[in-house]
Symmetry: C2
Amino acid sequence: MAELPEALAGQLQALLGPRFSTARGDLDQHAHSESFHRAPAPDAVLFPETAEEIAQILPACAAAGVPVVPWGTGTSLEGHALATQGGVSLDLSRMNRVLEVRAGDMQVDVQPGVTREALNRELRATGLFFPVDPGADASLGGMASTRASGTTAVRYGTMRENVLALEVVLADGRIIQTGTRAAKSSAGYDLTGLFVGSEGTLGVITRLTLRLHGQPEEVAAAVCGFDDLEAAVECVTATIQSGIPMARIEFVDAATARAFNLHSGASLPETPHLMVEFHGSPGAVREDAARFGEIATEFGATGFDWAASPEDRARLWRMRHGAYHAAFALRPGAAGVVTDVCVPMSQLPEAVAAAARDIAEAGMIGPIVGHVGDGNFHSLLLVDPASEAELTAAKAIARRMAERALEVGGTISGEHGIGTGKRGLMAAQHGDAWQVMGAIKAALDPCGILNPGKLVPDRN
Amino acid sequence: MAELPEALAGQLQALLGPRFSTARGDLDQHAHSESFHRAPAPDAVLFPETAEEIAQILPACAAAGVPVVPWGTGTSLEGHALATQGGVSLDLSRMNRVLEVRAGDMQVDVQPGVTREALNRELRATGLFFPVDPGADASLGGMASTRASGTTAVRYGTMRENVLALEVVLADGRIIQTGTRAAKSSAGYDLTGLFVGSEGTLGVITRLTLRLHGQPEEVAAAVCGFDDLEAAVECVTATIQSGIPMARIEFVDAATARAFNLHSGASLPETPHLMVEFHGSPGAVREDAARFGEIATEFGATGFDWAASPEDRARLWRMRHGAYHAAFALRPGAAGVVTDVCVPMSQLPEAVAAAARDIAEAGMIGPIVGHVGDGNFHSLLLVDPASEAELTAAKAIARRMAERALEVGGTISGEHGIGTGKRGLMAAQHGDAWQVMGAIKAALDPCGILNPGKLVPDRN
């Protein structure tokens, strides 16, 4: 373990008292997140409670040249929250208050450590909900920082569409407000949009104003099976092109169905499936579900199973969200390399089929799931953690998937972000625009202390 | 008229031939736009045809310290396209090709000089349309640059939501690509979102990838009257809060109804009105229209007039879009000061009522219209162009309206942008965040040649 400069450590301890920690347990807890990425433990963990504290921490660290790495719940998948260059982990979990629900404006102000499930519990009585749903019970600050999305983005958008305004502490300690409470604004650069997805490299988010949505009057969900992967994915493309306002349309392949059977007590045919949900008035839900049923039947869908009760639906989506963990049942003890490409809708069938071919040809176990209504899909390549060869092979498959996505105008990351894991692909995706990101980073964080080594190019 | 440095003029003439113009007619045509803002004519007008030409023009101008002011159709309302500090007007009207329609992806690539009406004519046979509709037949590059919206934003979003990717020429001549053709991406800073709304201060947009939408199966539109302004606006708030997916919900006040009667051959009762439109399946449109009818009736709506045919609807919206010009019928020969605040939905009734009170107390003619489903409304304060006192009084009312919007968490501009007209209010809205915009500007345009004097603070 490196050590913080003594003067800085003293300054932080004076500011935070026992919320400045170098206890082994705290350091270790902030040394890994939910993926194969590993990093040394941070030199200290800070647990700030206010923006004003953070506004003192950042300039102090900048003066000492010490990295600051924001931490939400540690559920990110690309190593975003790891202190790869040492420094302090800025754990925002104590900033976990829902500050103000403005039901009439369908908005809420939250601190960054509030998780999406905690927020929705708090909203239950209002008739409103926050839709963005990446599966993990992530913090809303973390979700904004990675521009998270998930199963409902096809209907409600990603964090890009659902964050209206932010309070952000800059590296120099200024506390700024971005955005407004109005539904739209043409008053200058979209700084809210710039901080959303910036992965803690431009500032620390200390408050978020989020858009809420009315709980749908009627909800219907179903799962149905297909003979093969192509039929299932082509059904998705046809459904989206038909304009049916799907609330969710999720693909799971045959291997994932098997994982659900092994791990989640399901009894699905071990073939590809779609899981769908409809939101709206009773009439609209009936109409939409019927139109989807017609399209799916054209593509040979069978075994339609409607989740009628809220409990059945909760069970269905819990199973879907558990796909990541369930997949390990296919190879107990394995480590996982997750991919996250997103392609234009017309390119989706070929992109998924090509990924499946690559995985099969490599003899690898790599179940595929996807938020396919957005053209986004993941494979979880299961490798022996002791085998460098397998890890290398998995990374080669992941890289090929990303290259194929770029060839058809897609993106290397639909929702997981860049962190350290995808940084090697940024130049391929963005060309000179990656250097522009670096220039913006340098303008806002001239000392380079905010989550260094992530997302942007290294400083020349 | 200032003159360009001789070497630069020669360089540009060699590059562009007759598309480099210092003809009086060209200069004068680029010296004013659709508002009271005036500026000297530019020193030259350039008519580039390719991004590569622009990539030569910008570094040449940067080396000579000569401002470059992009020009679309000249329909902006805050002086964005005026060469207030001299330099060249970069007229993009020759870059007016629809490059590729990808119907299966519901996307189109266009050059920046394509206007929204031209695009929609080209799309007619595809079953798709581009929804953003600011009224004027503006260029899509200009609409992106001011983050334009208009009557349909309540349903389809603004340019922020409908621009997927851009090609941009930077001040140093690099041509970058931002965004992708995928529906979403978490791969780094949202540069597309940064350039949208940046008013030509960060780069010149040379290609746009736009999201398209399916032409609705069924459309219904109506106009209805209310006893007073409060009832009409409270009806809007109740409608939006009820979750009815309005395709349009527009407010016009009694003075505007009178202007329509005088100028557009309407025969409306001279009271406040709402104009609404519903898009969807036949069943959904029926349901939505019925629910809106119930709410409107609660607020005392009368004289429901349904525009059944496409021609009737076209007439209705042509009338609404003509409000700006029709208003001058209330005071022939007047000049207009346009306001553009946007407030949270719950604050809309009081914001509109307060604006109406201020206008009445000043004894001014100032009709109010609004894209009220977003909380956005405009007044057009009609002043004697020869009277400094009237202009001063109008500006004071506009300023008070903006201050009131800021007091309730709103914005000084919902859709028109900042240009020179609203720049004096930026510090009040953004505080230190305005300086952050300036830092980004300095990072991307270090010589400060791109549309100087607009949007961002002056360089220290």
